[in-house]
Amino acid sequence: MSGINYSEKIPNNVNLSEDRTLQRALEQWQPNFINWWDDMGPEGSKDMDVYLRTAVSVDPQGWAQFGHVKMRDYRWGVFLNPGDQERKIHFGDHIGEKVWQDVPGEHRANLRRIIVTQGDTEPASVEQQRHLGLTAPSMYDLRNLFQINVEEGRHLWAMVYLLHKYFGKDGREEADALLQRNSGNEDNPRILQAFNEKTPDWLSFFMFTYFTDRDGKFQLCALAESAFDPLARTTKFMLTEEAHHMFVGESGVSRTIQRTVDVMNQLKTDDVAKLRAAGVIDLPTIQRYINFHFSVTIDLFGADQSSNAATFYSSGLKGRYEEGKRADDHVLKGNTYKILAVEEGKLIEKEVPMLNALNEVLRDDYITDSKGGIDRWNRVIDKAGISFKLTAPHKAFHRNIGSLSGSKVTPDGRVVTSEEWMAKVGEWLPTNEDRAYVGSLMGRVVEPGKFANWIAPPVMGINRQAVDFDYVRFS
């Protein structure tokens, strides 16, 4: 990579062409990244030209440049949102002080841990999704999958930039390790368990991008409040790209529902067997997928009481969602928050210090946001005149982290015995049969403007292109 034009090859606004230290670190890392992309990136995509959005600057005109490119040649860039010289820390013990342009020694280990944990999820999801291109329900969807993949790659670059720039030798080693761990690898797995699960089919992919990428949104929003200004500015820009990922999830599930209700009306039936015979995904199965992805994702916010969360907040490393819009003192020393627990076979609320419950605060904000999309999916069902309502399961359902871990709670919030759980879990979570059925629908459709039988077309194309535009060109 030596002798290259950095601004051209790696679009950036971090003065890369003048920063020899950063150049040297990236020269070492970039070939390993390309090797990782070749080995673990989208399968069978090497010769495809994909209509992708590339960010070449952070202003509204520059961050969304569209054109057909080979993904291997995608210009992964390094961008920070524009800075504010006057920006002050606006929460925690350092409130009112100037934000940090370098990493304070006392917060080095925690900041590195936060950045590595966030960074690890980015390549993990590319690995989880690498086989999906082989079963894309349309060329439009194939393009959207690849857009997500390259942007997760760019988010990895964003975190690697911070590690290289601000964490010296430790940072370089951590950046290397981000390419060495692999999703689902028994010996060297990804850090968070949800990122070691398979994404076996497109309904799972849409659920993942709706629910799990939304966790990404909330984590990035909390980090965008950080007193460490380069982290705040980096994550702020990442959020713009993350929005597309959630769009793919929300519209993907919505289109799946649309097709199902259309067939329900054509056949005048809600009989699952008849709908499956017609090749669409019945609404109860969609509900079970929601239950699974919602519950697995809310675990990602961590334990409901966490001294780490309190430390991260008080020291200014990580704020709350929309910290600046909240009307409290932003220090939270005397505040309390209600969390859930199971006592004597019943769900109860416990009041605990808010600082220790900040994971729960973020989880609750996430839940509110997630429910909005479920309401919009219900409007599709309503409009079709069908009486069925999708719901988010209870917060205590199917939890494996925190004080609710291992409790047997139904989707409507009833504590049950292990026996009842075992007897009914097939009504609440996708069964092997459900997954096998959904898997059986996954055949590749890539003729422009054509869609698999189980999903409706989108209402509009990407970047004002037609729905039947050739989003992917095969060589």
């Binding site: 509204p60 961050w63 713009t240 769009f247 909005g372 999309g373 409007r379 509009m460 004002r464």
Partner: protein, 126 residues
């Protein structure tokens, strides 16, 4: 020209397509976009039609426009209740409200999209 007679191109967000990602609100340089738990909406009094919010929108829902008499522009409160966009007013309806749609004078600023750059479906085509 009276206030009633001023025609504007009101910038609206399609609630049926919008995913509430907040990108537009974060991008808007004049703070014209706001939201509640239901909808993202544009304040016609603040929006200067600079278009900064259009490319970053992942869904295309941001790119909707309605010819409206300025005094009858849809309020934020009204937009927050919508499940879908209102039908565009016909020339006859606009004339009945005291504005000449064919005159197409846009009163907000010089960078605003001209009326003739907006299709009959209410989507901008530039």
């Amino acid at each position: 020209m009276t206030t009633e007679a001023v025609l504007i191109q009101q910038h609206l967000i399609d609630p049926e397509i919008c995913i509430r990602c907040n990108t537009c609100e974060a991008t808007c340089p004049v703070g014209a976009i706001t939201h509640d738990s239901r909808n993202y909406v544009v304040d016609a009094d603040k929006c200067n039609l600079c278009m900064a919010c259009v490319p970053p929108c992942p869904t295309g829902s941001i790119d909707n426009w309605r010819s409206m008499p300025k005094a009858k522009a849809y309020s934020i409160e009204e937009q927050l209740t919508w499940d879908d966009l209102p039908v565009a007013l016909s020339e006859g309806e606009l004339q009945a409200m005291g504005v000449d749609a064919s005159a197409a004078s846009v009163s907000i600023n010089s960078t605003a999209p001209a009326t003739d750059s907006i299709t009959s479906s209410g989507r901008c085509c530039f």
